[in-house]
């Protein structure tokens, strides 16, 4: 019973803060709501007993990326952006897009309920109530044994990107 209550709490929290992110005038407010949205999803991960994912979500997203977001928001002078008139013309384009996407999603949800052929594809198993065995070891097993090559490639790619950023940002001292 607690699980259901928690799930709905986290779910609604995530949706509400996601909406608020888009509608807030001040950038810092929307950054905070983005953080709450991320933490809400982390809560759901925890509910699924995926502890490693939960903590990675917190460290990576909330602790890492969002700190950079807030840094940038504070450092960049936001006056200029506020004066520009908000995207009036795009209103219609947005409406069309929203409608098409909404109908598409609604159609598949309906089909999955009834349609037979696609059940296997869209059959989302209910959240496992049994305890997952500690998945940190499983993830590290996968990451460092089965997919060691892509892991190294990705790290080299990141390294290059970092060095590039440092070189570009280096002030002509």
């Amino acid at each position: 019973m607690l699980d259901k209550a928690l799930f709905y709490f986290f779910g609604s929290l995530a949706i509400v803060s996601a909406i608020l992110v888009v509608t807030r005038r001040s950038a810092v407010h929307s950054a905070i709501f983005l953080i709450t949205a991320l933490l809400a999803t982390a809560g759901i991960f925890l509910q699924l007993h995926a502890e490693f994912l939960f903590i990675v979500q917190i460290i990576l997203y909330a602790g890492g990326i969002m700190v950079l977001f807030v840094f940038v928001i504070m450092l960049v002078n936001l006056d200029v952006m506020l004066h520009q008139v908000r995207f009036t013309r795009q209103k219609w384009v947005a409406l069309v897009l929203a409608v098409s996407l909404g109908s598409f999603a609604a159609f598949w949800i309906y089909r999955s309920g009834h349609g037979v052929a696609l059940k296997s594809v869209l059959n989302i198993p209910a959240a496992p109530t049994t305890r997952l065995e500690p998945n940190t070891e499983m993830i590290s097993q996968g990451l460092f044994h089965d997919y060691i090559l892509p892991f190294e490639l990705a790290s080299i790619l990141l390294l290059v990107a970092m060095i590039g950023a440092v070189v570009m940002a280096k002030k002509k001292v």
Binding site: V28, H29, E51, I55, I58, M74
Partner: protein, 448 residues
């Protein structure tokens, strides 16, 4: 109704522990402040707070009361909403990270969460938001500069602390906190003796991470007044203060768990050192005795009664600590009670080092602080992790003895550290010369 009770049964104990933590922490933080002021006074040939209660024992309560009553000013141009939530974020991050810590074999809120240490580090990293948003919301130039500086400092020293923890976890081969302590119990040696460098790096990095002692640049009084805390006053300011001390306790407990053997008694497996079990009770008896001796010296009658009560309390604790040794039925609680004592003793020792450094060392300048972090601490911690990995690999695969392997890698890491220091000094000297002749050929500029 039955279902409800049934449903709550597994959660009762953690809830009680959580309540204890949330209640005890502010009190603990207050008394750490008192101990800090007393130690500082002692080092500076003076007495420290003596007025409120005998030997200033009631000073934290007086401080808390003052902060509660003090007017809570919100700057007019400040962002009210963020101004209200920023200190909250800091405090919740600090308190939340206490959840995973095990203060004794039994006393742990999140029972057997198997990402233990990672959870603590991750959640305490959220504390940065409290500081950064606090600085931003108070809309004053000084506090923003202070906030940016402390955020930069936290981020850069978290890397070093993270790597130091990694080398500890390599030895423990598990993330869960109970697992780490049990591993140290099994191996019979604390990890601080196996990787002393990692402990040292974690000590330095944790000082920087909690903005203390030589690294307390963000609220260096002489420069940016009070850094990000400038505009906060009254209860809001005390939340930041509580967050800082809670962070200190968190960082100290992580170090104790990982390097100083959590709730283990020193030399847990050595049989002939059994008298060590009596030490906690004897210590408490000693304190009680001192309180009773001091009774006649108290100036006011009420203070005499108060110190008598404190003496009795210490006696009670001594009895509790001695119970498992002598009284039969209490024997199974031995580990829990003594464990808690030893854990708290180690945490206080770690915090004492913080205080000790604070009153002897002057403050680093911001660029020196960053240079120390990036040019020295992080490289050495990475080398230490690699060295340790190598040593363990040799130990497991090639069956080398643990001691020779570890001593070899520690020596190698020390060599790298010394080389880095030497390179740093060369770089400083060349900077000095460059600055020197840039200054000498500069013309004598008229002072305005």
């Amino acid at each position: 109704m039955h279902g409800f009770i049934e449903f709550f049964r597994p959660h009762v104990l953690p809830l009680i522990y959580a309540l204890v933590i949330v209640a005890v922490l502010p009190l603990l933080a207050g008394y750490i402040v008192l101990v800090e002021r007393k130690v500082m006074a002692d080092m500076q040939a003076r007495l420290g707070p003596m007025r409120v209660g005998p030997h200033g024992l009631l000073q934290p309560i007086a401080d808390a009361l003052k902060l509660l009553i003090k007017e809570d000013i919100i700057p007019e141009m400040a962002d009210q909403w963020i101004f209200w939530i920023a200190p909250l974020i800091s405090v919740t991050a600090a308190m939340l990270s206490m959840a995973a810590l095990a203060f004794g074999p039994a006393f742990q809120v999140a029972r057997d969460i198997n990402v233990g240490i990672l959870f603590v580090v991750g959640v305490s990293a959220l504390g940065i938001f409290g500081i950064v948003l606090g600085g931003w919301a108070s809309n004053s130039h000084y506090s923003l500069l202070g906030a940016l500086r402390s955020a930069a400092q936290l981020v850069s020293y978290e890397t070093a602390a993270g790597m130091a923890l990694v080398s500890g976890l390599l030895l423990a081969r598990t993330l869960s906190i109970r697992g780490i302590v049990e591993m140290q119990h099994a191996q019979g040696v604390w990890f601080v003796f196996l990787t002393p460098i990692a402990f040292f790096i974690y000590l330095v990095a944790s000082i920087a991470e909690t903005n203390r002692a030589p690294f307390d640049l963000p609220e260096a009084e002489s420069e940016l007044v009070a850094g990000y805390m400038t505009e906060f006053s009254g209860f809001r300011w005390s939340l930041y203060f509580l967050a800082e001390y809670a962070n200190m306790v968190v960082v100290a407990s992580v170090a104790t768990t990982l390097f100083l053997g959590g709730w283990l008694r020193p030399f847990p497996n050595v049989a002939w050192l059994w008298p060590l079990d009596h030490v906690p009770a004897l210590l408490m008896l000693l304190i009680a005795g001192y309180c009773f001796i001091r009774i006649p010296k108290q100036p006011v009658r009420i203070q005499q009664q108060f110190i008598a009560v404190v003496g009795l309390l210490c006696l009670l604790v001594a009895a509790v600590l001695a119970a498992p040794l002598f009284v039969g039925p209490a024997r199974p609680f031995m580990a829990a009670i003594h464990g808690g004592f030893w854990f708290m003793a180690k945490v206080f020792f770690y915090i004492y080092i913080f205080m000790w450094l604070r009153f002897t060392l002057p403050r680093y300048r911001f660029d020196q602080l960053m240079k120390l972090g990036w040019h020295f601490l992080i490289p050495v911690s990475v080398v230490n992790v690699m060295g340790l990995g190598l040593a363990l690999a040799l130990h497991w695969e090639k069956q080398w003895g643990l001691a020779p392997a570890l001593s070899l890698t520690t020596a190698a890491t020390l060599a790298v550290a010394l080389w880095l220091l030497w390179a740093q000094r060369e770089r400083d000297r060349s900077d000095m010369e460059a600055q020197e002749e840039r200054r000498s050929q500069g013309s004598t500029v008229h002072a305005r």
